[in-house]
Structures are given as structure tokens and as C-alpha cells.
Amino acid sequence: MTTAPPVEDDLDAAFAALSDRTRRAIISRLARGEATVGELAAPFDLTHQAISRHIGILRRCGLVRQRVDGQRRPCRLDADRMQELIGWISEQQREWESRLDGLERHLASLPQESPR
């Protein structure tokens, strides 16, 4: 009936992007501050090209931003986007806690011997 808000698809893409170990390591590194592709590639046994590809994926799902600064193209995290991911999980948790409260109340309201 209703269509999914775009943010749903975006979140799926972001979660999918984070299933990769290298991309998670890039995220962890960027949490300490801006870094160029060269700086990001240093700790890995990977080419700049490979790192750029990972950055491209992280950029497309909105987790990472890249700006132009002369010859440099430093990357940084999009904190709001990260917060959205965490917010989604917390929201699910709140919803289920509330649902289980409802379940507990419902069970207490049932006659003892007959479940119906």
C-alpha cells in the first residue's frame, strides 16, 4: 500500500556497506579524523585504487564525505548518517520492549486455565 521512505533503502545500503571488514576499518580510522586515500591505504596491503573503490561505496551510502582541497581529497565521516544507523537499532529495541510490555499485560489478562 504505502511505499518505503527512501531512508529505508539508504539504511539497507549502509548496513550492507558495513558488512565488509576493510570498510569497517576505514570507518574506524576516519573516526579519528580526516584522512586522504593514501593515508587510509597505508595500514592495508591494498592499492590506492582498491581503497578508492571502498571509499566510493561508503560515499554512495552516505557514510563518508570527500572534499577537494587543492591536490588532496580528504575523506571524513558523516556523523549524522552514523547516528541514523544506531538510531534505527535503538528504535527497534524500544518498539520490541514496548511490544513485550504489551505481551506481558496481555498474558496477565488471560484466564488461568484456558489460554483462549
Binding site: 520492549e97 504489551g102 496481555h106 489460554p115
Partner: protein, 152 residues
């Protein structure tokens, strides 16, 4: 009881001890009238006539929630696993969100454990290894740290 695929590494969403035996909790989780009574929790109501349950693997579970502001949200799930009275796995085809509900007898009652996974199927194997919970812990840390470094 053993040898099943578990969803280790998925996000633990909730766990609760209930003062009712698993058979009853199972019935409440799988009967339209019961589901309508509790699924909305504190935040929504569920019109009983909106609930449909086809309790078999591949069967559909659908319902509509009505929020405090009157907004209606149709929800549609497909049963992936139906193992009475211990395990129910639902997938929401629209989002790929997988929800596992496990019921374990404990003492006089039942412990309900809810896990979720939100990833495309092709990533599930790797995901099982990496652990979404771990990623999210890290993300939480990242965001906390990031608040000090960034200004966006």
C-alpha cells in the same frame, strides 16, 4: 533441539522472562486475536480484522498498526522458520529485515529472546562471522568520538 542454524552475531533486540509456559506464549505469538491484543505495544493499536496469519514456512503474517496520531501502517511478514513452540523467524520482504523470536522454558515460565538482522541474503554468511552487534558497538564508539571531532 540442536544442530539448527542460529543467528549468532545478529543484533539482540530484546529479551524478557514471562510468567507463562512456552506453549501458551507460542499460541499468543501465532493467533490473530492475541497478536492484535499486544503487537502494537504502548505505541500503536492493531485492528483485529487487519491480522492474518498463515502459520507455515512461506506463509504470510500481516497486520496494520494504528499510531497515536491515527496514522496507519500496513506490515507484511513471511514466515521463514516455524518450529512450535520454540522458534519463529519472520522476514519483512520490503526491507529484508529478519526477526527471530525464540522461546525457552525457564523455571515456571518462558524466556523470549528477539534477534534481528538487516542485510541482503548474499551477505549473511560474512555477516554471521563479523557480527552486526560488534559493528554497532564500534559504530557507537565512532559516533561518540566523532561528535568531538566533527561539526556536521
Amino acid at each position: 533441539m540442536t544442530g539448527r542454524v542460529t543467528l549468532d552475531g545478529d543484533q539482540l533486540i530484546a529479551t524478557r522472562h514471562l510468567d507463562a509456559e512456552p506453549a501458551l506464549v507460542w499460541e499468543v505469538f501465532t493467533s490473530p486475536a492475541h497478536l492484535a491484543a499486544f503487537w502494537g505495544g504502548d505505541h500503536a493499536t492493531v485492528p483485529p480484522e487487519s491480522v492474518a496469519v498463515d502459520l507455515r514456512v512461506g506463509g504470510v503474517f500481516e497486520l496494520e498498526t494504528v499510531g497515536a496520531d491515527g496514522s496507519r501502517h500496513p506490515l507484511r511478514f513471511r514466515y521463514e522458520v516455524v518450529e512450535a513452540p520454540t522458534r519463529l523467524v519472520l522476514v519483512e520482504p520490503r526491507t529484508g529485515l529478519l526477526t527471530e523470536i525464540r522461546l525457552r522454558p525457564t523455571g515456571d515460565g518462558t524466556t523470549v529472546v528477539v534477534h534481528q538482522r538487516r542485510l541482503p541474503p548474499e551477505l549473511q554468511t560474512e555477516q554471521a562471522r563479523a557480527g552486526l552487534a560488534g559493528i554497532l558497538d564500534r559504530l557507537e564508539l565512532v559516533v561518540t568520538e566523532n561528535r568531538f571531532h566533527e561539526h556536521c
